[in-house]
């Protein structure tokens, strides 16, 4: 297929899936089966697109002179599309297992918005300019809201308020201004290698403009705009898994990275020092979120704060403004995606199989759920950056980027962060395998097979990605 057709395919498959969900709403097996099937197709399409050379572009409409809705897959976007496209079918399969296992209601509505959210994510990944990205960014926010508030009770609605409030407000107040500002200054919004602001803006304003993006992209959960992420954990676990570990937050940091690389330009940021402040903010976010994570005993809350911390890495990769750090950040989108989705899958599996959410109640569960816990351990190691797991490479590259720029403190931050990860993720594994349970557990009691398969695959991906890393390193020049 040509690149153009692949773009249509990737954007269209989730929409088709969402439509079919409605069509087959009275046939649960058909409804769910088609989503998995289309998901697998999308994974294939994403992979094919990833391997195609860059250069294709697809313009839907011109809003105003020079302002279009355009899709232009470039390496970074293709990588993100690949991540989202690959994890979608797995997450869908998992969702089926979870929703049936946990006996959640409103399955059709859930599946519908799930697919729409993937569509929005694909739109973000493939967007060719900031405007397109913004449109799909907002679409993602709104399409995930019904998922976050799926339970519909008081707590869910309250969390939904925080979710929508922070994401919408930050994007409207800061991000949109940034978008318009860039357009007014540069006359274009197209993602261009080397950036579009060089020579068009007084360097004095660069930090402020960057701030509009860093804090405008609430999905990147840079502290102190992170509150929506833990709040969104009221959602059923499949939502947390795909959306809040992968699609939504990754869309956020992806946007930050893309803006840094293709709007500001790495060299321009480095020259002007416009991103220096962001290095410190990201450092703070990385460490503070980890420390908060240690104080959480609810598994999903802990994972959520861990995500906040990990997102800091990717923002850091942007802020360091070196090609190596940017490559590391891009890789981390994939590496952390595979790792974190596994962790959330496991959290859901634990919930479905044993109805436990508090880490202190999970003593000895590892012996009962060996597959789940092994996957969890692998993913946790990947997040920590231990070889031979995917997270190691991205962390290496970020460290290299920090060294390139002489940010020794950042090196320290990354190191300490690894140790903090170890403390709060390691505890779960150790409790699972070695602590004595309060009540005796009998034999092996794993979650349904539909949940075990995806989490095993994603855990394996964490491992495989380490060895296949050369395929996923994006060269940002320099």
């Amino acid at each position: 297929m040509s690149a153009e057709n692949l773009i249509y395919t990737l954007l269209g498959l989730p929409l088709l899936a969402s439509a079919l969900v409605l069509v087959f709403r009275n046939h649960p097996n058909l409804r769910d089966g088609q989503a998995v099937l289309l998901g697998i197709l999308s994974a294939g399409a994403a992979f094919q697109l990833y391997l195609l050379p860059t250069g294709a572009s697809l313009t839907l409409v011109e809003l105003a002179p020079g302002l279009t809705l355009t899709f232009t897959p470039e390496p970074l976007g293709k990588l993100f599309a690949l991540v989202a496209g690959t994890l979608w079918p797995l997450a869908t399969l998992y969702t089926i297992g979870y929703m049936r296992g946990a006996k959640e209601a409103n399955h059709t509505r859930f599946m519908f918005f799930y697919a729409v959210a993937i569509h929005a994510t694909m739109g973000i990944a493939l967007s060719g300019n900031l405007l397109t990205l913004f449109v799909f960014y907002e679409m993602l926010t709104f399409s995930t809201y019904p998922l976050v508030t799926h339970k519909g009770d008081e707590a869910a609605l309250k969390a939904g308020r925080v979710y929508l409030g922070i994401l919408v407000a930050s994007s409207i107040v800061f991000l949109l201004f940034g978008v318009i500002g860039v357009w007014a200054i540069a006359g274009t919004l197209d993602f261009t290698s080397g950036g579009i602001l060089v020579g068009k803006i007084d360097p004095f304003y660069v930090p402020a403009l960057l701030a509009l993006f860093a804090f405008g992209i609430g999905k990147a959960a840079l502290m102190p705009l992170h509150r929506w992420l833990p709040a969104a954990m009221v959602a059923p676990t499949p939502v947390s898994a795909l959306l809040h570990a992968v699609a939504v937050v990754k869309a956020g940091v992806f946007t930050v990275l893309k803006v840094g690389v293709y709007i500001f330009g790495i060299d321009f940021l480095k020259e002007t020092g416009g991103s220096e402040w962001l290095v410190w903010v990201a450092s703070f976010s990385i460490l503070a979120a980890s420390i908060v994570a240690m104080t959480k005993t609810n598994l999903k809350a802990r994972l959520a704060y861990s995500t906040v911390s990990q997102l800091g890495y990717i923002v850091m990769g942007t802020a360091l403004a070196t090609p190596l750090a940017a490559s590391g950040a891009a890789l981390h989108i994939a590496a952390h995606g595979a790792g974190k989705i596994t962790l959330f899958f496991c959290a859901g599996a634990i919930y479905v199989a044993h109805k436990r959410t508090d880490i202190r109640d999970m003593n000895g569960l590892g012996r009962t759920m060996p597959i789940t816990y092994t996957a969890f351990a692998l993913a946790a190691l990947s997040i920590m950056g231990v070889p031979p797991l995917a997270g190691a490479w991205s962390k290496f590259m970020l460290m290299g980027g920090a060294l390139d720029n002489g940010y020794l403190v950042v090196l320290g931050v990354l190191m300490v962060s690894s140790l903090l990860n170890l403390v709060y993720l390691g505890e779960i594994v150790v409790r699972g395998f070695f602590a004595t349970p309060k009540r005796k557990l009998k034999g092996v009691q794993e979650a349904p097979i539909a949940m075990l398969i995806p989490l095993s695959i994603t855990a394996f991906l964490s491992l495989a990605l380490f060895f296949a890393v050369d395929l996923f390193i994006i060269d940002f020049g320099g």
């Binding site: 420390i291 290299g400 690894s418 140790l419 602590a435 890393v469 050369d470």
Partner: protein
């Protein structure tokens, strides 16, 4: 794939360990021994030089490279691994077996790593596999101790990675070679190795975690991690003088701590620490003789230290305790164990004809030759210390001393006896006929230990130290061990660090909440003002009177005129 498996030393054990949990007990032990045998055979044939390289992530990695020093370490690691299998014959714990095997494999692979990134991989792998051994312990504190252990081990790896990164930035490349310690990269690497070698201030994990592990776990732990660190220090920092003093401190200090400690496995952990100090001194001296001494000492101490851990482990296994205060007169019920243990003790106090004597003397001689008097004196002092806390406290009293209460015990299981017997034989063998070991050493430098004067001095030292014990015990002032918590450097992150974190985080959080509250207040205030102002009678939106409208008109008219004039 298979070729790769066989060409990278240790990988066979790591990958092979994956099968261990699924095998039934007896075949499992045989399988593990076979793997170790094959691995040892393959490894021993590796000549000095670079053998296997790979490229990944844009980096050129050296997967297999042997140095002159590699072979003795690889050999003793294999020996230790094999002994561990025997020792654990009675123990059906699959996790410990698999983790132990992989741990040994990782340590062996790390010896052959040619660049710091490859090393980092195995470095972390040793950390992660070994923590399973700690976790196999059964006491209530095991889990926390294991977490602290893992934190230090992984922390060491992280610092190693940072050092590697700094080296890479400096353009020196990632190849493992001599490093200038006084650069940021060098300091990082020194710290990374130092943590695993239990340097002073970062030694806490060793005494903290090793005694918490299971009987078999502790034995496995004692062999690899610290020796690997010594090996790396020797490769990168040979001749870095400050190491001499670091080594001296780490040799001397544990002597006093070991004297207070009641848990005998912890006493052994302290003694392990001061043995490592000897090796670090050797590295710091850095002459060929000193390095030979370090390597030889590492070789011998791995075995005798293992033997001691095995023997006291056997005691723990049979009696359920390893507390000095609760043990005595065990020689009657566990005679073989007592004999083997005594051999280990004689080795560690470097009694002539035992392995410690022929290896430690190399380092001692090198130090003396270079004229470091006080360091030399410290080493002699530590030998007396070993007499006190190993020979007297850990071996003599439990096995031959008075029984505080009736201790009933059976002789150790066969597997343990086999392992201990083999280790004891090696101790004695090396002590009597050290030539094969000397032949393995990296350099040709020799030191004649069998000189009558030298042997005499050593014997005087040991016997009069023994008399010291007799003197004190006759006077009734030889201290009785009691259960206490001995503060160690792990205090730093068990107490100091949490306190410091709270001290910082507390005010930060308070400020943050104050800011948040202020923001919230000001927003509410603003809304209140605008609500008042936009009421029908309010300032900005009310139905203004005609008069006020005229006023505004006039004001604006005036304003325009003024602006016209001013601007």
């Amino acid at each position: 794939m298979l070729e790769m498996l066989l060409s990278i030393p240790g990988l066979l054990l790591i990958v092979g360990a994956l099968l261990v949990p699924v095998l039934p007990h007896a075949p499992r032990q045989a399988y593990m021994l076979a793997l170790i045998g094959v691995s040892g055979y393959l490894t021993f044939g590796i000549e000095t030089g670079v053998h296997t390289t790979a490229s990944l992530g844009g980096l050129d990695l050296i997967l297999v490279r042997a140095e002159a020093m590699t072979k003795p370490f690889a050999l003793v690691f294999h020996i230790a691994a094999a002994l561990n299998v025997f020792y654990a014959l009675h123990d059906p714990n699959k996790t410990t077996s698999a983790a132990g095997l992989a741990y040994a494999g990782a340590a062996i692979a790390a010896l052959f790593a040619g660049d710091f990134l490859t090393l980092f991989l195995y470095w972390e792998l040793t950390a992660i596999t070994s923590v399973f051994l700690v976790l196999a312990g059964t006491s209530a504190r095991t889990m926390n101790a294991a977490m602290r252990y893992l934190l230090m081990q992984v922390g060491s790896g992280v610092v190693l990675l940072a050092g590697a990164g700094l080296l890479w930035r400096d353009g020196t490349g990632l190849t493992i070679q001599a490093v200038d310690a006084l650069t940021p990269a060098g300091l990082c690497l020194l710290l990374a190795f130092g943590i695993k070698a239990a340097f002073p201030l970062v030694n806490g994990w060793l005494q903290d975690a090793y005694p918490e592990a299971s009987v078999t776990g502790t034995v496995m732990l004692s062999a690899f991690t610290t020796k690997l660190a010594i090996y790396m220090l020797a490769l990168c920092f040979a001749g870095f003088t400050p190491l001499i003093y670091i080594g001296a401190v780490m040799a001397v200090l544990p002597v006093f701590f070991a004297a207070v400690e009641n848990d005998l496995r912890r006493v052994l952990a302290y003694s392990l620490n001061n043995q490592l100090g000897f090796m670090v001194i050797g590295i710091g001296v850095g002459t060929q003789l000193a390095l030979n001494g370090t390597v030889a000492h590492a070789f011998a101490s791995t075995i005798y230290q293992g033997l001691l851990f095995m023997a006291l482990g056997a005691v723990l296994h049979r009696t359920g305790t390893a507390k000095a205060s609760q043990l005595g007169a065990l020689a009657k019920s566990m005679p073989l164990t007592a004999i083997f243990c005594t051999v280990g003790a004689l080795s560690i106090i470097s009694f002539p004809l035992f392995s410690g004597f022929v290896t430690k003397s190399l380092t001692l001689g090198a130090v003396a030759k270079e004229g470091y008097f006080f360091v030399w004196l410290a080493m002699v002092f530590v030998t007396v210390g070993a007499v006190q806390h190993i020979f007297v406290k850990a071996v003599y009293l439990p096995f031959f001393g008075p029984a505080p209460k009736r201790v009933k015990a059976k002789e150790a299981p066969l597997g343990m006896l086999l392992a201990m017997g083999a280790a004891a034989a090696l101790c004695l063998g090396i002590g009597v006929y050290p030539e094969p070991l000397y032949a393995l050493l990296p350099y040709d430098a020799r030191y004649e230990v069998w000189k009558a004067g030298y042997v005499l001095g050593e014997l005087q030292l040991l016997f009069f130290a023994g008399l010291g014990f007799v003197f004190l015990s006759l006077r009734g002032v030889y201290p009785t061990a009691m259960d206490t918590t001995v503060l160690n450097t792990d205090y730093l992150f068990r107490r100091t660090l949490p306190r410091a974190t709270m001290a910082i985080a507390g005010p930060v959080l308070r400020v943050w909440f104050v800011v948040l509250a202020a923001l919230k207040r000001s927003v509410l205030q603003m809304l209140k003002i605008s609500e008042q102002a936009s009421r029908e009678s309010g300032l900005v939106s009310g139905i203004a009177s005609i008069g006020s409208a005229a006023g505004i008109f006039l004001a604006m008219f005036a304003l325009m005129l003024i602006l016209r004039q001013v601007m």
